[in-house]
Amino acid sequence: MSAAPALRREAAPPRPNWQVMLVRPESMTFVLLVLAVVVASQLSRYFLDINYILKSFTLSAEFAIAALVLTMVIISGEIDLSAASNMALSACLFAYAQKAGAPLPVAVAIGLGAGLVMGAINAFMIVGLQLPSIIVTIGTLTLYRGLAQVIAGDKSIRVPEEFIGIDNILIYGVPLPVILFAALSIVLGVVLGGTIFGRQIYLIGTNEVAARHAGVRSKRIKTLLFLAMGLTGAICGLMTASRLGSVRYDLGLGGELQMVLMAMLGGCYIFGGRGTILGTFLAAWLLVIVTTGMIVADWLPAYQLCVLGVLLIVSIIATNLIYSRAER
């Protein structure tokens, strides 16, 4: 699960194992996570309750799931900022369809299909027309949210009773969204770290021209990643709709920043080629622990924002330091 071997020069002496293990961005995230749990449990005696922490995680589980796929997109050297708007538009289309009389499975299919189409639109402009992904997805971020408002208006649409409550489904006491997040982490972790496909994603992100010369079908892989991102966005949108019981155009507003934050906190390198699913997995928990800890300690939002900002800056400095050391 490491990008380092691809960069190792033949003549350099092998790094001692303990150093390889410790000097990794994920280790940093892990240390911060442990630290956050300790500090949060000191801040408030109400914090250290596994049920409460799991429940709080379900509030961000959709963003966390999307962040896993986003991690792969970022490693490939691109970015997708439209995922949260995609969530809103897919959920609005789903809710609109079922309100207009479509049976539930059909409505779900419409929502998921919409997500795929949105992913395809991004892929067409980024991979097909070779436009920069940050600009394209800032555009679609606005467009998808706008369309959601056109469809849903200012009102919220209620979803059918049998669709509500994904967060109330407990498996061995763990809410379903958390299980889904953990399961997807394992699957994507294996894909990214243990398959040729995964290695190819790292290679594209490190040097796309070289990757293409080496026979990697970078266009096909990137298209696939954007489609996966689109579909995941739709799934997360429907999960949010199920959790809230109603859909509005502002569903998941600002979520793209949380997703990027999770990837960055987990040691993902914004210019591609580096990052791991494990890092994003840990970072999602870190973010939830930190925000939950501050909220249950009744901290004012202003302080919460400051802490989050400092956390991000610290993690970015650490990531850069660690990567520059690894390159030496």
Binding site: F47, D49, S56, S156, L244, V296, L305
Partner: protein, 335 residues
Amino acid sequence: MLKRHLLKPLLGLTAALALTTAALAADPLKIVYIGKNTGNPYFDSITGGFEDACKKLGCDFKFVAPATAEATSQIPFIEAQIQRGVNVIGIAPNSPDAIVKVLDSARAKGILVLTVNGDITGNESHRDATILPTNFDKVGGDQVEMVGSLIGYEGEIAILSATTEAPDQNKWIVGMKDTLAKDAKYSKMKLVATVYGDDQPEKSTTEMEALLSNYPNLKGVIAPTTVGIAAAAQVVQQRKLADKVHVTGLGLPSEMRPFIKDGTVKAFQLWSPYNEGWLSVYFAKGVLDKSVKNEVGASFDVPNLGKTTINKGNSINTQASLTTFDAKNIDEFHF
């Protein structure tokens, strides 16, 4: 009836909690008020009422609020307060439906849930009671009467509102239009435009300027929002149009005082946000120690406010109608 059934296990639970905690019966009631967002001066006044009443009755009080007023931003705060084991959650809801499920889980834990200064319209069964400043059905009519009396019940008027989706404002605007259409007293008044300043001072100012240029014969402007009325008054003051265009609406006395003093605004209306907090605490304390029945038609006494009745839909108003502020009484109010 349903309420009584809910109340019993609730009281049993609080009693059980009090027994299990070390502090026993001396454990003070924990009350929290969750605002729409931080940095909103209007809520300082409500919070002041909560604080003073809690001090009087020996309750613990906390005010918390998310950074932004979007639909789901209050959810983690409600979860956290459930986890903290508070006895009462008062909330100014940011959404009529997104928070419904988490309010349910709060009530399942035996927490008394009150919506204060705004209700979850359409989902009223998911809270125990609502505390509103006045009967919101009558605000529209009162405001039309106010502007009518200022312009002599004749001429063009316009509305400068908050956002297009603000539920309270929209309800009042419907009330204004109804009153204008149905009451013969206002038949010579014509509503020419409804514009939205999004509760931002700059946008409200721009919209007010546009109203003045588009409708040169405009005689009155109703701004049923504290941001809007202050911006509108500012424009009229700068252009020295106070004799021609009458600005009224809902405003904060502290913000409107200079405009009343220099005659830019003759009169405006509002309620006392302070009393909402004050009443909420007395009501919550009463319900939890069983001295007040949370039933439609029941009544209870609140110091300084007198006898208060629980209206249809477990809705409680702090005052019967809007308070009018003018040069005579403006100095008596400090919020």
